[in-house]
């Protein structure tokens, strides 16, 4: 029996094509994923992301625990509400999951706590791993399955959300900086997302979500499914767990080096020793962007051939509705320069190697 979010009936009423995603029945699209994609790039779209797993971390050692659990350092979060993207690594330095952690309270005050949002497909192993790491810390992990979550994204997203909320929530939204989330009358409103556009991710008690979703729809926000979510995140150069990285690779070969906080040197975190050894031995691969100007679509697992450097593999590929060409992320030899070939059903096709992202705020950003 598949899990269903509190919005399931509304999805069906809006014409959603539903697919299984990590044990959840979720909308793939509501007609055309390309039209949904373009709505997010030019106006506003909304995604039901209630399937994602929310875990609150409380207790006297909440901060110290997360500084051990995560490769990025929550001590960098110096302001209430600030968010951090991080990998959660195993002892081999490989990626168990990627996640967002929000500082929910002022730093260094009693009762300090954090909110962590992890992927739904990895929920069980994440919760098990997180629980195992609590052994030497005074912390509690509180999963929040009764909370729903909606992402509203696009250049008009914030204005549209404000148009359906009361003044005090509107003022709170006006005060949010990028990558910050704050609580407002039982809601948690964050200026984060997975599309490369400005927008909000809003955590709401599940009995209030329907009314909010309906109000957004009436305000002209387009419902968007997992299909558009994938093309948007790939254009934005954002990794997808299970495709672009997993438990067999480290953040150093997954374009996540920037999320590893090496300083301070005396902070011990899970996977640190292995990452340091990998760095010392020399990283042999890297995750890059590919752009194909000829007709066709790059797909995950296609082989990449780099003359003089060796071979690699596409980790995610798609057609970019914004750029009208195919784009991909690929793990390639570290010596790869600006050209490569991709094996598409036996044919070798030339591609450009670029540094992601491909699109930010509606515009092409690579050269």
């Amino acid at each position: 029996m598949a899990n269903k979010t509190a919005l399931y009936d509304q999805h069906l009423a809006m014409g959603a094509k539903v697919v299984d995603f990590g044990g959840w029945d979720m909308p793939l699209n509501y007609g055309s994923q390309i039209e949904e994609h373009k709505m997010v790039r030019t106006a506003a779209g909304m995604f039901d992301v209630s399937h994602m797993t929310i875990v609150d971390v409380t207790g006297a050692d909440a901060s110290e625990y997360l500084r051990y659990l995560l490769a990025n350092d929550v001590a960098r979060l110096d302001v209430k509400g600030k968010a951090l993207y991080s990998g959660m690594l195993n002892e081999d330095g490989n990626v168990i999951d990627d996640l967002i952690v929000y500082r929910m309270t002022d730093p260094h005050v009693p009762g300090e706590w954090f909110r962590v949002v992890v992927n739904c497909a990895t929920r069980e192993k994440d919760l098990r791993w997180m629980a195992e790491q609590t052994a030497h810390f005074d912390v509690a992990l509180i999963e929040q399955p009764e909370l729903s979550m909606v992402a509203v994204q696009g250049p008009e997203a914030i204005a549209k959300v404000k148009s359906v909320l009361n003044e005090s929530r509107g003022r709170l939204i006006d005060g949010l900086s990028l990558f910050q989330g704050l609580e407002s009358e039982g809601w948690f409103i964050a200026r984060t997302g997975y599309t490369g556009e400005d927008g909000l991710e809003i955590v709401i008690p599940e009995d209030e979500i329907s009314e909010f979703w309906q109000a957004l729809a009436e305000a002209g926000v387009a419902p968007c499914g997992l299909g558009a979510r994938d093309t948007l995140r790939l254009e934005a150069g954002m990794n997808l767990y299970g495709a672009d990285m997993d438990e067999t690779v480290s953040p150093l070969v997954s374009a996540m080096g920037w999320t590893v906080a090496w300083e301070p040197e005396n902070r011990d975190f899970c996977g640190r020793a292995a990452l340091e050894a990998e760095k010392t031995a020399g990283v042999t691969q890297k995750l890059v962007g590919l752009v194909m100007d000829s007709r066709g679509v790059l797909r995950g697992h296609q082989q990449v051939i780099v003359e003089g450097a060796g071979e690699g593999e596409i980790t995610s590929g798609t057609f970019s509705p914004t750029l009208n060409v195919s784009i991909a992320l690929a793990r390639v030899p570290v010596g790869t320069k600006d050209q490569a070939m991709v094996d598409i059903r036996g044919k070798h096709v030339a591609v450009k190697v670029v540094r992601p992202p491909f699109v930010r705020n509606g515009k092409k950003v690579f050269s």
Binding site: L28, N29, V297, R345
Partner: protein, 130 residues
């Protein structure tokens, strides 16, 4: 429920065939197939004039989600391909039985038509797959 038209014949690989009465047939993919594929972004079609046999690869439909081979349902010569699809591949989604057609074949053996499915048989096949 997908649109299955009584006047057409079908192949289990989700192509439709319209018998034109001049010894040729027009071929496309069904509404059910376009729905499974999602937004179509490229269609690669055979060359006009090519001699093809039943079961040959005739090209590829690429949607955002997946690439899907197109098979030749009947032997003969390709006498026309739909050039509209070069710039407007989305016609496969919006009008699969009309402007979204793929190519026409001048049949070399009309007896092969007997091997095609009728609308009812194709409908049952789609039911079984879903």
């Amino acid at each position: 429920m997908s649109d299955i038209r009584n006047e057409l014949k079908y192949v289990a690989s989700h192509e439709w065939v319209r018998v034109e009465g001049d010894g040729s047939v027009t071929i496309g993919i069904t509404d059910h197939a376009q729905d499974l594929l999602g937004d179509v972004v490229f269609v690669e079609l055979p060359e006009e004039g090519a001699e093809v046999e039943t079961g040959d690869d005739a090209g590829v439909v690429e949607s955002v989600k997946a690439a899907s081979d197109i098979y030749v349902p009947l032997s003969g010569e390709i006498i026309a391909v739909n050039e509209l699809l070069e710039d407007s591949p989305e016609l496969v989604n919006s009008d699969p039985y009309g402007d979204g057609w793929f190519f026409r074949i001048k049949l070399s053996d009309t007896a092969e038509l007997d091997g095609l499915l009728d609308a009812q048989a194709y409908g049952e096949l789609c039911e079984d797959e879903s």
